[in-house]
Amino acid sequence: MELDSLYQQVILDHYKRPLHKGLSKNSGVQVHHINPSCGDEVTVKVSVNDGVVAEVTWDGVGCSISQASVSMMSDLVTGLGIKEANVILDEFTALMQSKGTSAGDPEILDDAVAFAGVSKYPARIKCALLGWMAFKDASVQAQAQ
């Protein structure tokens, strides 16, 4: 079924058992992003130490794509240098804009290649990017501190 390309098992797993959900008590930069067209919301809290993403936690409500994406993102970038994290972010963004022509680089994206199918559904790209954009926003602010 075509729909399976969108709802890969790993996405639904993250949706059902999200990682790093629940905002940490540790200090960090917290941002709140909203998808105005559907009402989905995500709060992402990021702490950066010496150029390394020390902790990413989040909370939110939304569809499987948006929640799974933020869950996977938080797991992927934690422990990476900001530069490396941004490489993944850029690769993920490019994948989303590929209109189904790219499968994504698993070397860079790891499990997040599962979102490749989303790029064929233009209305869902924003869902998949919601958490990433929040991370970008928060990490830029965190570095500026």
């Binding site: 079924m1 075509e2 729909l3 969108l6 709802y7 098992q9 639904l12 067209s37 559907c38 009402g39 989905d40 919301e41 409500v61 939304g62 569809c63 499987s64 794509i65 559904y121 869902r124 869902c127």
Partner: protein, 421 residues
Amino acid sequence: MSNSSSPLDTAVIRRDFPIFTRTVRDGKKLVYLDSGATSQKPESVISAEANFYRMHNAAVHRGAHQLAEEATEAYEGARESVAKFLRATVDEIIFTKSATESLNLLAYAFSSGDSLNRFQIKRGDRIVVTEMEHHANLIPWQQLAKRTGAELVWFEVTPEGRLDLSKISELINSDTRIVALTHQSNVLGTINPLEQIVARAHEVGAVVVLDACQSAPHKAIDVEKLGVDFLTFSGHKALGPTGIGVLWGRSELLEDLPPFLFGGSMIENVSMLDATWAPSPRRFEAGVPNMAQAVGLASALEYLTNVGLEKISAHELLLTEQLLAGLANIEEAKVFGPESTVDRGGTVSFTVGAIHPHDLGQYLDSQGIAVRTGHHCAWPLTRKFGITATTRASFYLYNDASEVDALLAGIAGAQEYFKDK
């Protein structure tokens, strides 16, 4: 299951709509249940617009040549059609680009007259809306309140999705100048009790602005009977083209209403420093208007009138009844809005267990079923219900009982699909 008691022959009607000749998602039949967002168009409407361009296109009111005469006749003829449709007089019909523009036109007009203008809103005045308004009938009034220092208050919505009228006399008090509300909720399907609200509003001297976006396309409107002061709807939800809306206002009110958009054709006299205004409706239609769209809209209203609005409402209610009954049988399904068909139109919002509406909508789409998901531009309302989104099915004259069945089957399929994984 086909509902044999419907007064409409949908099979015949569907033949008039070219879009139903296509399929979606690899050959699936298109089950279009998103008419609340925008309706599909019959070939007659598409042709009316095209034919204007092909044979009569010219700038109205401006040229001394035959094409200009014909274009003017077509455009002003469309105004007459709309007037007939609303049982209004022709000079009370203003063409805008959309209901959104109409409502903004009004909200701006309430703060752009001079201090003596009867519409001028000021600090201490009150504007009343409801918690179930579409953003288009909420934010313009928020902004008006901010600009003027007026107070914005609202009717709350009960858990059943009705307006809570228990505090009507306190809400609509003697400071109240404007009561703006929707005729039918685009989320809940609720039809609001106008009589009581209009009576109270007029008692305190307020004007009533009715958002008829979800009613005028589906039921017969008689502005005199409704008793409201301004009314608007969009063409594209009423089988008409995009890019056209209607604003109706009582002529004695339009007479004093300040203009909104300034430019050609809305003037009486112009010098470098000043200008005076033409009478309504011209005063509110600056520039070369959306002529082809007005012609298309007239054709759409004619189509609706020929089918019969009573029949259309009755047909939609049967489908609504069928869907509500079907949803009642799905344990996980929760309906937002009235669960009976009393004072209700053919728009049904619901959630299904933990399946996010967006995911449900996506699954339905994979089955060819087009619904809408989200807050439906009535975000404060979805928040009031403590949710971020619903899935919404909305009916029109071309839908039939088999499509309700398809939707119900689709919901079951989605439950299966997302459970298994």
